[in-house]
Amino acid sequence: MINEQTEMFKEEAFELLEELETTLLELEKEPGDMGLIGKVFRALHTIKGSGSMFGFNEVAEFTHEVEDVFDFVRGGRLVATKELIDLTLSAGDIIKKMLGDEMTAAMKAQAEKIVTTLRSYPGEVQPGEEPKAKMAGEAITLEPPPEPTEDKKGEREITYRIRFNPSLDILQKGTNVLALFDELKELGEIKIVAHLHQVPTLEQMVPDECYIFWDIILTTRVSKDAIRDIFIFVENDSKILIDVVDDGQGNEDKDYMKLGYILVERGDLSVDDMNKALSSQKRFGEILLEEGVVEADKIESALVEQNHVRELRNKRQKEEIVSSLRVPADKADRLVNLVGELVTLQARLGQLAEQSIDPELISVSEETARLVWDLRDSTMGIRMVPIGNSFSRFNRLVRDLSNTLEKEVELIARGGDTELDKTVIERLHDPLIHLIRNGIDHGIETPVERRRLGKSPKGKITLTASYSGAHVLIVIEDDGAGIDPVKIKKKAIEKGLIKPDVEIPVKDIYSLLFEPGFSTAQEITNVSGRGVGMDVVKKNVDLLRGSVEIHSIKGKGTTITLKIPLTLAIIDGLLVYIETEHFIIPLSMVEEIVELTDKDVSRSHGRQMTNIRGSIVPYISLREYFSIPGQPPPVQQIVVVEVEQRHIGFVVDMVIGKHQTVIKSLGKIYKQVAGLSGATILGDGSIALILDMSRLALAAEIEDENPVKNKSSYKSEVEREEH
C-alpha cells in the first residue's frame, strides 16, 4: 500500500512539474500575470507538502527554497525575471531527478548552487526597512506591494455580473471608461456588453455625455470588494451592482439559468412578459426581439452571461472528470487485455450461433455482441488522452534550443484536444523531439538571415493534430529555409544510395532523408546533424503502423506529416485466407478488392502488375511470399492497399470479411520474419497473422525494381532492411 501511495505521489508530482514548466514558460511571456504566479506557487507548494508527507524530504526541502522565493513574487516584492524563471526551470529538472532517484554528484552540486542563488534573493523586509534586492545585478527589481486585490482566502474562481450604469457627466469629468475596463480585465476572464439603445440622435445629444451603461461578466479569484475598489473613483456618480452568478463550487447544474430567468433576475423583464413569450412556439430570444419587449442589447447581454457560465461549468466538469480518473496505467492495460479476450470469445460465440438454428442462442449472441462492442469502445476510450499535454512539453525544448542556437522561435500548438492512445502518444514523443529539433536547427534561419530574406526575425514551428478517419494526422510545419532537393540528391549519390543518372521524383528524394546515417548538415552540432534522427523517426512511426511524409518549398519552409493510428490494441481488420492459413490486413489501409483470374496472370507475362481502371498497380502473391504450398484457385482476389500514398495489391485465395482484431504480439522467434506485425485469435480458436503492410509494400517495390530476382531474394532484402 505504501509503495502504491508513493507511486501515486510520484505520478502526481511529475504531472505538477509538467504544469509548473508550462506555467513558467507562459509567465516568461506575461511576467506580471498574478494568475500564473499563483499557479507556480501552488504547484511548488503541493510538491513540497506531498513530498514531505510521503517521506521525500530531499524533494520537500529543495522545493521549499524555490517556493519561498515565489512567495515574494506573489507578494509583489520580486519580479519574475527571465533569470528567476531559468533558475526555477532548472530546479524543476532537479526535482524530477530526485523523484526518479537519478541524482548524480554533478546534479547535487547544481542543486546546491541553485539553493545558494535562491537564498541570495531578498528576504523578509523588516518594519521601516525599504524593500531592496540583495541579489547582484539589475535583473531583480523591487516594486511596492500591489493593491490587496487578491482574495487570499479563495482559491476558487467566482463569476460576477456587474452592471455599471454611470452618470451622464462621467465622461466630462475625465473618466476613461476603457482604462477602467482594462483594469478589470487584469483580474480575470471578462465579457463586456454595452447597452446602446438609449443613445439619442445627433441633434438630441450632448456629445460628451454618456448615454451608455454596461454589463460585465467577470470570472476571477478576487473578492467583490476588490472589484469595487476598481470603481472607487466613479462609484459616487454611478450605479454599480455586483452579483455572484457562479460561485465556483462546482455543485450546480451545468446548464445554468434559462435566458428568461436571467433577464427577470436582472430586472430587465417582467415575469408576466416572460410567461407570455414562453407560451409561444418560437425561440424565446426571437420572440422578445420581434415583440420589442426587451431591448436587443439586454438580450445580447443575458446570452453572453449564459454562454460564459455554461462554458465555464462545462470546462470545470471536464477538469473534474479528468482529475477523478487517476488509475495506474498497468490496471488500464489489464482491462484492455481482458476486453480483448472478451471480443475474441464473443467472436467464437457468434460463430457458434451462426451455425445453430436456436433463435434464443442467436438473440443472446447478438445482444452480447452489441454489449461487447460498447464495452470495447468505452475501454479504449479510457486509454485515450489528449495530445495537448505532450505538445506543451515541447515549449521548453523550443525555448532552450533557440537560446542555444541564438535563434528566435515561436512554437504554435493546435488541436491539443485531439485524443490518441496513451502508448501511441508516449512512443511519438521522441520522433516529435527529433522533428522539432531538426526544424529549429536546420530549418529556421538566424534572425539576421531572416531579416535579410524579408521574413519576420522570429521563426515559427507549428504543431497541429487532427483526426483523419481511424488515424490522427500530426503536422510539424516550419517557416524556415526548406529542404534543397538538389543537395539531398548530391549527398545520396555521394553515399551511393542512388545512381547519378537516375531521375527521381522530388517526393522520393525527400524519402532519402529517412535513410540511416543520412545528413546534409554542413557541420555536426550537439543538436542535430549526425544523421541519427530521421531514420529513427521513420522506424518509430513504422512501429506504430503509421507513415511519415515530407513536403518542402526551398526558402519557404518544410511540412512533415505523421499519420498515426488512433489505437494499438484493437483494430478493424480484413480477414483473408490462403489455403488453410488466415491473415488480417488492417482495414483502414484497404482501398478495394479486385479479382485476379488465371487469364490475367498469363496476360501479364510474368510481371506482377494489374490494370485497375487504367492505373497499373503492382501486386505480390502472399502465397509465394510466405511459401505456402498448394495450387492457387482459378480466381484469386487482390486486396489493394494504400501505403505511403501508393497503391499495392496483395493476392490472396479469398477475402472472408471484416474482423474485429485484438492484436497479440508475436513471440521472439517471429521477430525476424518480415511482413508480420502481430497475431490475433479467431472465433474458432485458431490463429490469424496480422500483416505489416509497409514492410510488404517495400518488398513489392524491390520486386518492381528488380523483376528478375526470385521471390526469396526480395524477402531477404526486406529482412536486411530490418537490421
Binding site: L171, V177, A194, V199, E203, I216, L289
Partner: protein, 117 residues
C-alpha cells in the same frame, strides 16, 4: 489640425475620419456627421490612420446611425476597422449580434466577427 474630410459632393459622400477620435474633438465630429448626413443621401464612413479613440467617439457613431435612419438616409461603415478602433470597439463591449432598430435587427455598425472588429 483638420484630419477629417468630406469628399465627392453629390448623391454619395465619403466622410473620412482620422487622427484622434476622442472627447476633445467630439463636438467637431458631431458637426461633421450632421453636415454630411444632411448633405448626402448616402454616406460612406471611412477611417484613415486613427491615433486615439474613446467611448464618446463610439457613442457618436451610434448617434449618427440613428440620425441617418431617422432622416431615411443611408450610412455605412467599412467592413474592416483600423486596429486601434477595432480594439476599442471590442473593449467597450460594442460588438453584438443584433442591432437596436426593431424593424431591422441586422442594421448595426457593430455586428461583426470578433477577429474583424
Amino acid at each position: 489640425m483638420v484630419d477629417t474630410s468630406m469628399k465627392k459632393p453629390g448623391k454619395k459622400g465619403i466622410l473620412n475620419l482620422s487622427g484622434s477620435l476622442t472627447i476633445e474633438r467630439v463636438e467637431e465630429l458631431r458637426e461633421m456627421f450632421q453636415n454630411a448626413i444632411t448633405r448626402y443621401k448616402s454616406l460612406e464612413v471611412e477611417f484613415g490612420e486613427v491615433t486615439a479613440v474613446d467611448v464618446t467617439a463610439l457613442q457618436l457613431c451610434c448617434a449618427a446611425h440613428k440620425t441617418a435612419r431617422q432622416q431615411k438616409k443611408e450610412i455605412s461603415f467599412p467592413a474592416s476597422l483600423p486596429p486601434l478602433l477595432a480594439q476599442a470597439v471590442h473593449m467597450a463591449g460594442f460588438l453584438r449580434k443584433n442591432g437596436c432598430f426593431l424593424e431591422d435587427r441586422h442594421d448595426c455598425f457593430w455586428i461583426r466577427p470578433l477577429s474583424q472588429s
